[in-house]
């Protein structure tokens, strides 16, 4: 009779601690390689199942964790009847308008400013301190100031989201300026390019991957700030819906609102990833 241990090879721990040989077509030792699509699907399904199981067994009171069915039912009800006399789609639209309005504004101002800061020590010297000063402050901390200065109307809401999107976009564009290899810049100059042409033909295109990443990060911050922006004097919007539902302990509405925000944000992220593949297929390849 053979020794069962030696026929199995090294023990489980030893096998986990060491990289295994790869399959043909993969490269040995690349960290984290492999397709995760089906695993991600399974992860979502398992989480949904646990959620359902916990509520179906009555382990947690519906006030704290309502069942998936209750959330779906609430969604259909609000879809049909609206929430606080406003149709559901209007809540979605107004929030989307606030986030995307702020996002577009932040891109329109932040991208040129970031590029200018990357290109010019003068611009960097002037704008670096204020941006680095406000960047780490939580938007909730300066929300009162926004309201004192700009009132309780749309301006302060969009401005709050704008500020949270603005900093990552400026920083992304600024560091994107450094993406161009010095040889690419020298090549352009040696053809007699002006500084402006180098900017337009070399620095801007090579900054595109970082700019797109910064836009993805930025819009994420925008959705994060939405609820804060709709805390005061809002009567419409997804953030408002979540907050006012929480005040009346309507947990299904809170969870449903969270899902809607997550789905919109994720959908936009997918769109950005698609754009990234179309616009900068060369990213990281040269």
């Amino acid at each position: 009779m053979t020794d069962p241990v030696s026929s199995k090879g090294p023990g489980l721990l030893a096998r986990l601690a060491r990289a295994r040989p790869t399959k043909p077509g993969e490269i040995y030792g690349v960290p984290g390689q492999g397709n995760t699509f089906w695993l991600s699907i399974a992860s979502v399904l398992v989480l949904l199942f646990i959620w359902w199981l916990v509520t179906a067994l009555g382990l947690v009171k519906p006030l704290f964790v309502p069942s998936p069915q209750a959330v779906v039912k609430k969604f259909i009800q609000i879809w049909n009847e609206g929430f606080t006399n406003t149709p559901f789609l209007e809540h979605v639209l107004i929030s989307t308008f606030r986030v995307f309005g702020a996002f577009l504004l932040a891109c329109a101002i932040g991208l040129p400013l970031g590029l200018a800061m990357g290109m010019s020590p003068l611009m960097r010297g002037i704008f670096d301190p204020p941006i680095e000063f406000y960047r780490p402050i939580p938007p909730l901390a300066y929300l009162p100031l926004m309201i004192i200065w700009f009132g309780i109307g749309e301006t302060s809401k969009v401005l709050l989201i704008f500020l949270s999107v603005f900093a990552p976009i400026v920083l992304g564009a600024r560091s994107g300026v450094k993406s161009a290899a010095i040889e690419q810049i020298h090549a352009a100059y040696s053809f007699g390019a002006t500084r402006w042409q180098v900017m337009r033909h070399v620095i801007l295109p090579s900054a595109m991957p970082e700019i797109l990443t910064a836009m993805r990060v930025g819009i994420g911050f925008g959705w994060t700030t939405l609820v804060a922006a709709e805390m005061v004097a809002a009567t419409k919007g997804l953030g408002y819906m979540v907050l006012s539902a929480s005040q009346f302990l309507q947990t299904p509405v809170v969870i449903m609102g969270i899902f809607v925000i997550a789905i919109i944000a994720f959908g936009f992220d997918l769109l950005m990833r698609f754009l990234e593949r179309r616009l900068v297929p060369w990213k990281g390849r040269m």
């Binding site: 690419q184 053809f191 007699g192 033909h201 295109p205 595109m208």
Partner: protein, 262 residues
């Protein structure tokens, strides 16, 4: 065409408590029409500094560089540079990379594609016009770089170790290709390499440089590229007794420099 480098020194200022460094000291060199000048030397001997001076990326501390009667005071389209790598634009396909210099000069798309196509043919890249450059092999990318440098019809072609990143076989083919193109276009070339064999085979004039301070210590006139152009096979040229004798002589100079540094 003539490029006169007259008594040029480059001194990097003192920094971090270290004394000033003379990267180049009293360089005198003339490159005339159709000449193929190869610079060879131990690392730190100032070859690249010299190329950057000619390209206009760097200004001399003393002395002057004069190209056809005009002092070199910055980069310009009369001097095209071929880099070792990283110099192509990956968001452009092959033909737009080749036509990049013409685009900078404001030539209309149709005209610049026509010129670019001539050089694409010359470099044997026909059929790859619309390929993205990041999908090409290293040897083909380098040919794109050379084609791009030629489209603007420069007076001097500055090549900074253009074949350094290629494998041995591709490299020998590329050497022959560059000599063929040099023969057809009659450009003056300033070529930097680490390979003694490459230097001897390609140049009409070899300058051997030494470090600390960077300076030209030896100048050789070379017959081998002309032999190749008049029909002798490359391997036969490289195997000839004259070639081997000179190779050993130059290697001795360079090894002596390397040991002096250590």
């Amino acid at each position: 065409m003539s490029l006169k480098i007259d008594n040029v020194s480059v001194i990097y200022p003192a920094a971090d408590g270290r004394p000033p460094v003379a990267a180049l000291s009293e360089i005198n060199l003339e490159i005339v029409e159709g000449e193929f000048v190869v610079a060879l030397g131990a690392s730190g001997c100032g070859k690249s500094t010299l190329l950057n001076l000619i390209a206009g990326f760097l200004s001399p501390s003393t002395g002057s560089l004069v190209l056809d009667g005009r002092t070199v005071s910055g980069p310009g389209a009369d001097r095209a540079v071929v880099f070792q790598k990283h110099a192509l634009l990956p968001w452009l396909n092959v033909i737009d990379n080749v036509a990049f210099g013409l685009e900078i000069q404001g030539i209309a798309k149709q005209a610049r594609h026509k010129t670019a196509n001539e050089f694409i043919q010359l470099l044997g890249l026909d059929g790859f016009q619309n390929s993205p450059v990041y999908k090409l092999s290293g040897g083909m990318q380098q040919r794109v770089g050379i084609a791009r440098a030629l489209t603007c019809d420069p007076k001097v072609l500055l090549m900074d170790e253009p074949l350094g990143a290629l494998d041995a076989l591709t490299r020998e083919k590329a050497q022959e290709l560059i000599l063929k193109i040099w023969g057809e276009t009659r450009k003056s070339v300033f070529f930097i390499t680490h390979s003694v064999e490459e230097a001897l085979f390609m140049g009409t004039k070899l300058i051997v440089m030494s470090p600390r301070p960077g300076r030209i210590t030896h100048v050789f006139d070379l017959p081998f590229s002309r032999l190749f152009q008049s029909g002798a096979p490359a391997r036969q040229v490289k195997a000839s007794p004259e070639f081997i004798a000179l190779r050993e002589k130059v290697l001795n100079i360079i090894f002596a420099d390397e040991e002096a540094v250590e």
